[in-house]
């Protein structure tokens, strides 16, 4: 296969992967309490590999640095927040214009408006973190995902358990809101033993999930409640 054919293949391949990259970013934004970076990492890794085959050194290096950032997030060495989504979306646009330029001129390099800087900045914060002794505990191996709840509890203090017995329905909302107060910076495990859930109740749970200053995880014990969630297409938002 000729060199230009390889290049054409590479370009098309990466463009394909970029589409997934973008939807992963949007998904991260939606579900920011349980971010999963594996797919993004996989894509960055693949792009890096492919770029080596068409001899694009600079491109490969850039992707390598992006891959590093994703890895840091994956290993929880840095805390995820929505600015990372913005960063990855900008990376997406950057790569897109880079590819477009490459299709015309093999030595093309797009103008960088601070992207590299932002990437370096993130990597630097980790270096600072790693060097302080109190944080060595956080440099964990990838925590066992199944026991994530317990992990969170151990790392950041006990997760406070809240049990809701009442039906999570609009008629009871006023009371439930009164009875359960959530404090900033705390972690909670809310066990929902309600027999009945309605839309108003579920909205409440999602609102709690969305709130940035508190960390809430839910556990639903009744089958019917789970069914209600599924019917309304909301399981992904709550669990």
């Amino acid at each position: 296969m000729g060199e230009s054919d390889m290049m054409a293949f590479f370009l098309e391949d990466v463009l394909d992967m970029l589409q997934t990259w973008e939807s992963e970013c949007l998904a991260l934004e939606k579900d920011s309490n349980n971010p999963d970076f594996n797919e993004l990492f996989r894509i960055a890794h693949n792009i890096k590999g492919s770029s080596k085959m068409v001899d694009l050194g600079k491109f490969g290096d850039f992707i390598h640095r992006v891959e590093d950032v994703i890895d840091l997030l994956r290993k929880k060495q840095i805390d995820f927040n929505l600015t990372h989504v913005e960063l990855f979306l900008d990376v997406h646009s950057f790569i897109e214009s880079w590819l477009e330029g490459l299709s015309r001129d093999k030595s093309f390099f797009p103008v960088d408006e601070g992207l590299e800087h932002r990437i370096s900045a993130i990597k630097n914060t980790v270096n600072i973190k790693i060097s302080t002794p109190e944080n060595t505990n956080n440099q964990a191996t990838t925590p066992d995902p199944i026991d994530q709840n317990d992990q969170i509890a151990n790392e950041q203090g006990e997760a406070m358990e809240i049990i809701i017995h009442k039906n999570l329905t609009i008629a009871n909302m006023s009371e439930i809101l009164q009875e359960n107060k959530f404090e900033k910076g705390e972690t909670y495990l809310v066990v929902i033993e309600s027999d009945v859930l309605d839309t108003a109740g579920i909205q409440y749970l999602i609102s709690l999930k969305k709130t940035k200053d508190i960390q809430v995880n839910f556990k639903i014990t009744k089958r019917e409640s789970l069914d209600t969630l599924a019917r309304l297409g909301l399981e992904g938002m709550v669990l």
Binding site: I170, A171, S174, V196
Partner: protein, 128 residues
Amino acid sequence: MSNIFMVGVDDSKINRLIYEEAAKLVAAECLLAEDGQDALNKINEVVKTGHIPTIIFTDIHMPNMNGIELIEKLKANPKTKFIPIIVLTTERDYEIKIQGKNFGAAGWITKPLSPDEIASVIKKFLKI
């Protein structure tokens, strides 16, 4: 469906009978009242004991307190605020339908009343 507690408010005796019939069709508990004030009194009584009605049917034109006022009062009480209220109208009475909606009614049912129709509205609203 055993925990259905319906309320039927109408100044016509015949209509109150129909509400009773409908209640039998769905194995519901039934509370009847003959005007707005009567309804309010009775509903407040049961609510005090923790027994909250699950659906209320009401006519609009009644002595002592009409349907719209009843809806207003029920909506003002946090204990009864979220009970779905169905108003009785004639087919062409758009104004009542709109007024009802504006005050917070959940739906309407057309005259003449029939137990089957009432039962199907109950089933629609209370499968929860």
